[in-house]
Symmetry: C2
Subunit: 322 residues, 2 copies
Amino acid sequence: MRWLQAAAQPRSGAASRRAVRLGIGDDAAILRFAAGEDAVVTTDLFLEGVHFLRARERAADCGYRCASRALSDLAAMGARPAALFVSLALPPASGAWGRQFFRGLLAAARQAGAELAGGDLAALPRGVLADIVGLGAAPRGRALTRAGARPGDRLFVSGRLGLAAAGRAWVQGGARRGAKREMPPAAAIARFRRPRARWELGMALAAQRLATAAMDISDGLSLDLARLCAASGVGAVVDAARLPRLPGPQGLRHALAGGEDYELLFTVPARNTARLRRLHPAGVALTEIGEITAQPGLWLRPASGPPRPLAARGWDHFQRRG
Amino acid sequence: MRWLQAAAQPRSGAASRRAVRLGIGDDAAILRFAAGEDAVVTTDLFLEGVHFLRARERAADCGYRCASRALSDLAAMGARPAALFVSLALPPASGAWGRQFFRGLLAAARQAGAELAGGDLAALPRGVLADIVGLGAAPRGRALTRAGARPGDRLFVSGRLGLAAAGRAWVQGGARRGAKREMPPAAAIARFRRPRARWELGMALAAQRLATAAMDISDGLSLDLARLCAASGVGAVVDAARLPRLPGPQGLRHALAGGEDYELLFTVPARNTARLRRLHPAGVALTEIGEITAQPGLWLRPASGPPRPLAARGWDHFQRRG
């Protein structure tokens, strides 16, 4: 772990801004939050064959995406990323893969201002598994949750949906039977390989009290929207024509049920939409895609004709892949 | 996860004392620390075939021991346990095992006043793996680390060393070739199955500034003492006759190189030893076993004759077992 300890050293940043007081190497890490801050904690498993394919992907990209999984959860809560912890289990002879994995992970962490503050390593007979833990700081009492959306709230998403799913189909395509090898836009491949989480947006939504609810889209819009609505006790109508997505029926399918977009889905009271439009957080597009309803249930409103029920179908992490 | 969410609900305790403001079910958990507190964070992998054997142990005991791994790291830092997060990967058909695992884990968490605040579940083709994350609160700037031991400091341990190793040999014995089936005291079997971490002791050492350095003994005294000395830039002499242990050469071997004791190893300036003896934390015995030296290196002082070098040998987590 010595090279990792050295590689994880923060390169810059005022010490007073650093939440991590003691990092890798002791029984535990020590973090200090400001008096006006809450700590936000997320943990996610990242598995070979489910979230990545070693034979088809660069180890550094896997590490980057693993970090983004945690950073995106912190973004969804409106938290400033502070620290990551990674427990990595891998076959004994895959040390070089592990080092590249950590390089990608550290690149994502640095971009977000988070330090790698600890973790664990273990040998696994076959396959690679990582557990990624993210710690962030949110203004006290202002962290965003999935609950809180109210009827009449406008429904927004960041970025373009389904890009990662299109990118994954290309990168992992050959490994799955029957998958079409259709080259998607370069942005889709990049979004799958190195998805940048939307922490600036999340932080702004929380700090300025713009949103009533938020979550990140990791399993596809239809499934994640169903979760947000269930937590808030509301329903939603989505305008099909407004979805920021790739063209064609495949583009719509990827937007509604593709995984790993790591964009934010959030609800904004109508009175806040003008302030929201002035945000411009790190150049990411924000699109109003529908609204929250008092009546539970999800509906998709086509360009013409009556709304039809929107089935909550998403990226199933238990499905068999590869 | 719904039954787990329900089972993880805290049964009592003033809401104002609870660090966990939002637990299982959202993108992340929210914790609130007091202004005078630092957050302490630990992560550990817990693997079938290394830390436990499914065929030989009760699932609830595995869960209890998994929680103790994190609680013991928090104890070593002098932190009050606040929350646990568990990511569990297991074969699809082992749901009943998983439920029992969580029951044991929750029992340990409740005992320590910690809440299960989140985690992740995933399917693994074979074998069980858990990543346990512990969050605790330490008085600001007073968390104990491995660095800080000074020449002349007295070396202490809690409890009796090697109990867990003796218990493990009995519980897992038949699974290893050449292992002797020799029934150890009931306390040894209990210490292996359900090791209670020493958080009251750790909290008292930190809050009252009694210790200069501390860590938990998870890989055997000789290996863990070597780590503490390396972090502090010092050496140590251990009195063989003073080691609190089981009788016989096997008892000495287990005390020096047995794993999973989850007792505390800590250093105390001579001026603090009288105050230390008045502690009586939760009835656990404290034994002075030696002292810190300016000269690096570990020495074992026998009852008679000159000291001999003490090799840092411990429980190797990468060794092949089962």
